[in-house]
């Protein structure tokens, strides 16, 4: 397997960044990690994952859809998009890598969302296998192997070197582009690290969580469950879970008058917000119970029903860490399963 010494990562990043824009998860002063555009000297974070997921690269929080120039009774429609440049996202975790499969099922389904597709076409995802999963991790629940991530190319660390493996043609092209810095390496130590990680994965507090009792056929059983009341009772109705979630993709479309034209943009929205379904003549989801239920029913029942059993969650654990009141999908799953 081709590898590079961890000490030479700076050189590797420099080479990638000389050809296209490179993003890596880096440390922030507050001790959290975030994806940042690579600049010389920047180091890969030691944190397991970023606060904001990697979905931002393909589905940013806000983006311009279309511009209008209005003169009298006439309107001019302008496509504001510029040519999208090639870019590499390095160090994506297995959970986030799977989130792209889920987002693809939404944005690439007919009619294709060309804004999203454009970025998908131009982006190369280089994943990084996990060696120190956290207590909040439960990607295994969704059949994700944290030691063998998806993505165009995958990286594996044995503590001294990073090994590279292509998962598809795009990944192979990426590895070819950096091959001058790589050398063939022995994977004995890597195998050891991986089996150690697998042992940890088995011991994670949420290792036993299963999707067995969820899926498209559970609509009536769970929609009418009497658990929603107590589960949603302390929900603040904020959008933290939604916005840190790598698979949440609901959005709003709004117009903004710049003073010299109208910009129509889309931005992330949350089904947890009170005005999400509000219409001129009423709101079908009047209380937080209904809004809360929608988010979890969508991930655990509606989405798998429409997508061959694929769930709308990848077990990244962000909502477990970030919900202000520590309510999350794991608690919901466990409560719904209680008969």
């Amino acid at each position: 397997m081709l590898k590079i010494a961890i000490d030479s990562l700076g050189e590797l990043f420099g080479k990638i960044a000389s050809a296209q824009t490179l993003y890596i998860p880096a440390d922030r002063p507050d001790g959290e990690a975030e994806y940042r555009k690579y600049e010389p000297g920047m180091k890969l974070t030691g944190r397991l994952n970023t606060v904001r997921s990697a979905k931002d690269f393909f589905f940013p929080q806000t983006e311009s859809l279309v511009d209008f120039k209005v003169e009298g009774k006439n309107i001019e429609v302008i496509d504001p998009r510029k040519e999208c440049e090639d870019f590499v996202v390095f160090g994506v975790r297995a959970c986030d890598a799977r989130s792209f499969t889920i987002l693809d099922k939404v944005f690439l389904a007919d009619p294709v969302d060309s804004y999203y597709k454009n970025r998908r076409d131009h982006g190369t995802i280089v994943t990084m296998a996990c060696t120190r999963p956290a207590e909040t991790c439960f990607c295994g629940t969704f059949g994700i192997d944290a030691t063998a991530p998806e993505g165009d190319a995958a990286c594996f660390s044995d503590g001294e070197s990073i090994f590279f493996k292509a998962n598809n043609d795009k990944g192979q092209r990426f590895i070819d582009s950096i091959s001058s810095l790589l050398e063939e390496g022995d994977t004995a130590k890597l195998d050891e690290v991986q089996s150690k990680t697998r042992e940890i994965l088995k011991k994670l507090p949420l290792a036993a969580l299963s999707t067995e009792n969820f899926g498209g056929d559970k609509l009536n059983e769970y929609f009418n469950s009497d658990k929603w009341g107590e589960l949603s009772e302390s929900c603040l109705g904020c959008g933290t879970c939604t916005f840190v979630c790598p698979t949440c993709q609901c959005y709003d479309i709004k117009d903004f008058d710049t003073g010299h034209g109208i910009k129509r943009f889309r931005c992330w929205d949350s089904c947890m917000y009170s005005d999400f379904t509000k219409m001129a003549h009423g709101n079908p989801r009047l209380t937080q119970l209904e809004r809360f239920r929608q988010r979890f029913m969508h991930k655990l029942v509606y989405f798998p029903k429409n997508n061959d059993g694929e769930f709308g969650c990848v077990g990244c654990g962000r909502c477990l860490s970030k919900c202000p009141i520590s309510m999350n999908i794991v608690k919901v799953m466990k409560a719904l399963e209680e008969k």
Binding site: V70, N74, D79, P111, F223, D255, D257, M279
Partner: protein
């Protein structure tokens, strides 16, 4: 179906505005070069917008058989509709579509006796179908329209109903208004009750549209008469933004009203969670 740039709208020019009722206007829209912006099927919708004000989903109320223009009957009830009601002929707006499914006029409805039941602005989506089947009369059995509104003034498309539908020998039109009114010698009473009084034959396929409460009682009445859920179609309305099943707003269970609807048969609705 849609172009790949589905979120980028086309320009439409409003060439005619008709005041239908005190709060409903019908807008005629063509492309800047003249002619229709796109073809559609009865029941389908389009996103109309006034840049800077907003975008909203509206039923295309003209029949696809009309080859010159599209029409939208719009009730004034919010910000965007208020703006539309205030504009003058010649104004450009933006249009994208067509969106959603349609009434199965070329499949299930073909050869059937049809019963249309509408309340208030609910006639808008049915008008497209009614005129479509009138234009392709040979493909369908009998046509009956039961339509009611709060008052005579609130009957949408009243002139068209009087001049065209009621003079069409193949069409039976039964009108009703909620309360007695001077100058009205027709039926008085709520639509659901009128349906029960008229007791239409249960062989008919029913297309019903109107306010939720009217639909609820009409369906109950139809069931009393012996109709089944599989005979009755309706159209749904929920808040929409993208119109292509992605923004998540009009999600009911695993369905998206913008993409999988707006037309649903009642047995299909029965399988969805009660959240609309």
């Amino acid at each position: 179906m849609n172009s790949i740039e589905t979120l980028i709208p086309k320009i439409g020019v409003v060439t005619d505005i008709r005041q239908d009722t005190p709060d409903v206007k019908t807008f005629r829209v063509v492309s800047p070069e003249g002619g229709k912006l796109f073809e559609h099927m009865p029941g389908q919708c389009a996103m109309l917008s006034v840049p800077g004000v907003g975008e909203g989903m509206f039923s295309i109320t003209s029949s696809p058989t009309n080859k010159e223009f599209m029409e939208f009957s719009i009730k004034k009830c919010g910000c965007l509709t208020g703006w539309l009601h205030a504009m003058d002929v010649g104004q450009q707006i933006t249009v994208r579509g067509p969106y959603g499914n349609h009434f199965p006029v070329e499949t299930e409805l073909k050869g059937r006796d049809l019963l249309f039941i509408a309340g208030g602005i609910g006639l808008a989506p049915l008008r497209s179908v009614i005129n479509y089947v009138r234009d392709k009369r040979e493909n369908y059995g009998s046509i009956q329209v039961i339509y009611g509104s709060r008052s005579k003034d609130d009957l949408v498309d009243y002139q068209e109903i009087l001049d065209e539908w009621m003079n069409d020998p193949g069409v039976e039109v039964d009108l009703t208004i909620d309360n007695p009114q001077e100058g009205w010698d027709g039926h008085v009473g709520f639509v659901p009750n009128y349906v029960k009084e008229l007791a239409p034959s249960t062989d008919k396929t029913v297309l019903v549209c109107g306010p939720p409460i009217m639909i609820k009682f009409t369906l109950a009445g139809l069931k009393e008469l012996g109709f089944t859920d599989t005979q009755v179609y309706t159209t749904m309305e929920l808040r929409m933004k993208c119109a292509v099943g992605k923004c998540g707003r009009c999600n009911i269970g695993n369905k998206y009203v913008c993409k999988d609807g707006p037309v649903f048969r009642f047995d299909e609705l029965g399988e969805l969670p009660d959240e609309y």
